[in-house]
């Protein structure tokens, strides 16, 4: 006798209604890749936050006698960099910078982009043309080029990095928010709300935002990994965080020349960037699948 698989949806299994967010949480709890990636992100975020307490050394204090110590050196588990600074401490402190530089632009873009996109999508007409064509101007440049151009114009430093990356990501979010808004706006439940006398604000809040925030949030989460890589890239080019601060992209740059002396230590910041952005990607994929509305 074969075992008949039960439907995967708890809502039908239990026969009782289940709220949307509980369904999402339940689906996420069954998605192993997302859970592992999520746990990894949690560790990365915690270690970055707790860097001042858990880092064994001062990230900017080096020792000339201990330059480029290999991984596994008793006092420096992950070795030291070209100035003899402890790699583990620098990676922990650098994670702070990289995460801030990677996450902040996406959060800003999510907020600003959603507002602009919903406005353009709902108003339509001239407002839409104005907003969307302006976004197209920014969209016409490759992300890296645009980030470098704006950072170059504003000068190096963390705040300018955040500004330039926000400008890179806003048009992308606007596009997604606008198309989602236009789609939802045409649905009959919006017309029904209008027919019941609801104000524009009530319609936006209860019918539009409720239905487009999910997709826009998922889209924004897919951009975090790119933002981290771009932030690291700007630092690598000397346009982002300035030395002696620890930041993964900057570390990659300064360790670059040492790659023939010790190949493992210079690879570590790159590995950190790779793992973090990968984890963000996996989580956003899982989120997208879990938040899909299935009939």
């Amino acid at each position: 006798m074969s075992v008949i698989a039960l439907p995967q949806e708890l809502s039908t299994v239990a026969g009782a209604p289940m709220s949307y967010w509980r369904t999402v949480a339940w689906r996420l709890s069954r998605d192993r890749a997302t859970l592992v990636a999520g746990a990894l992100l949690l560790v990365i975020a915690l270690s970055a936050m707790l860097a001042p307490w858990i880092a064994p050394y001062d990230p900017s204090a080096g020792s000339i006698r201990l330059r480029l110590a290999p991984v596994g050196t008793p006092s420096h588990v992950l070795g030291t960099d070209e100035q003899g600074r402890d790699m583990l401490s620098r990676l922990l402190w650098g994670g702070r910078m990289t995460l801030v530089a990677g996450l902040t632009p996406v959060v800003v873009a999510f907020l600003v982009g959603t507002v602009l996109g919903v406005m353009a999508g709902y108003a339509g007409g001239l407002v839409n043309t104005l907003v969307m064509r302006t976004m197209d101007i920014f969209y016409a440049f490759p992300a890296v080029l645009l980030a470098i151009a704006i950072s170059g114009a504003l000068g190096p430093g963390l705040p300018n990095t955040l500004i330039s990356l926000s400008i890179v990501f806003i048009p992308r979010v606007v596009r997604v928010a606008e198309s989602a808004t236009v789609q939802v706006k045409g649905l009959e439940y919006v017309a029904a709300a209008k027919a019941s006398g609801a104000s524009v604000w009530q319609i936006l809040r209860h019918h539009l935002l409720a239905n487009i925030l999910g997709p826009v949030l998922v889209f924004a989460s897919t951009q975090v990994s790119l933002s981290i890589i771009l932030a690291a890239g700007l630092s690598f080019l000397g346009l982002g965080v300035t030395p002696p601060s620890a930041e993964w992209g900057l570390m990659l740059n300064t360790l670059r020349q040492s790659i023939y002396v010790n190949a493992v230590v210079p690879a570590l910041p790159g590995l950190a960037i790779f793992v973090t952005s990968m984890a963000f990607n996996l989580v956003s994929d899982g989120l997208r699948d879990a938040m899909e509305i299935r009939a």
Binding site: P17, E188, A191, A192, A193, A195, S196, G197, N211
Partner: protein
């Protein structure tokens, strides 16, 4: 005769078709052209026509969800198109709409209880009061609120969703309900249940219906009077009985002839009209039906025939009938 609850005169809506970089208007879709009718309190006006003939646009014009290009709408003696926003909000309580698509017409993020209660909250009801009323109404349309109240729309069948739609439309205690193809998306057996529910509710709550459908059988079943539309215009109007017994306009005759019959002897050999309706972007001159009409004359191309009364409360817009021949025709 009592004053009409709803009256329209010369309603017109043409949608611009835009194209090109500069969004220039390239053409107009003549969705609704010069439509006038009255609906008396308590009656059901059926509006029938092929898909694309402007029925849904007409529904949205009546409720002022779309602003007409020309024409007037009176509701209960008030000029709907001229009232101030505050008054319009109040008027909306009296005229509600039930939509065609049971899937697109419910917000997937609201439980059905909240979907029904939303309209009440819009009009300033307290949350608990709105919820109680919504639950009571869900029960009235045949959905046990204890079982279904907290469910999401995707957990309901098409027929159940349509019941929620009806409850949502009724929660504000409207006088007029515009039903835009309320049963077309449903299975035949479910159609009958929903139609009977609508008829019951109408009797209970002394409602007036404008019932839009492409299905003649449904229209005949529910309507007191019927309006036949073709490409945005009314070609014939009269009581449901008069139209069923003696349809006058060639299009109405073709419609009735093409309705599937349960009587095998009455099954037809060939369709009474062939082809699709012409494109509403560029409708034929004069009478819009002339390209598919078996009786088309040269004068049909010149000007659109005005409606002519062939009997009491029975108007036809066709040159085959004029004031002189009306009695004999």
């Amino acid at each position: 005769m009592s004053a009409p609850l709803l009256a329209t005169r010369g309603l017109r809506k043409h949608f611009p078709l835009q194209g090109g970089v500069l969004r220039r208007t390239r053409a107009w879709v003549r969705a609704v052209d010069e439509v006038s009718f009255d609906v008396k309190p308590g009656e059901t006006l059926g509006i029938v026509g092929e898909s694309g003939c402007g029925k849904s646009t007409l529904a949205r014009l009546i409720l002022r969800l779309v602003e007409p290009d020309a024409g007037k709408v009176w509701f209960d003696g008030e000029d709907v198109l001229r009232v101030l926003p505050g008054r319009m909000k109040r008027l909306r309580r009296d005229m509600q709409l039930v939509f065609q698509d049971p899937y697109a017409s419910l917000n997937p993020r609201l439980t059905i209880e909240d979907a029904v209660a939303f309209s009440l909250l819009v009009h300033g009801a307290r949350r608990a009061e709105a919820r109680d009323k919504a639950r009571a109404l869900l029960g009235r349309v045949g959905l046990d609120p204890r079982l279904y109240g907290r469910r999401s729309p995707h957990e309901l069948s098409g027929g159940q969703r349509q019941r929620v739609n009806i409850a949502r439309a009724l929660v504000l205690d409207p006088k007029l309900l515009v039903l835009d193809e309320p049963v077309s998306a449903l299975d035949k057996s479910v159609q009958a249940q929903v139609l009977n529910l609508l008829l019951e509710l109408k009797a209970d709550r002394e409602l007036t219906y404008v019932f839009i459908s492409h299905d003649l059988n449904v229209i005949e079943y529910v309507s007191d009077r019927v309006l036949v539309m073709y490409l945005g215009q009314v070609v014939e109007s009269g009581t449901a009985d008069a139209l069923a017994e003696a349809p006058k306009h060639p299009y109405t005759q073709a419609l009735f002839a093409s309705a599937p019959s349960m009587d095998p002897d009455r099954r037809m050999e060939r369709p009474p009209i062939a082809g699709d309706p012409p494109n509403p972007i560029d409708p034929p001159s004069g009478c819009r039906f002339r390209t598919r009409c078996a009786f088309a004359m040269s004068r049909c191309a010149d000007a659109a025939p005005p409606p002519v009364a062939v009997a009491a409360d029975h108007d036809v817009a066709c040159y085959l009938y004029d004031a002189a021949t009306a009695v004999t025709a």
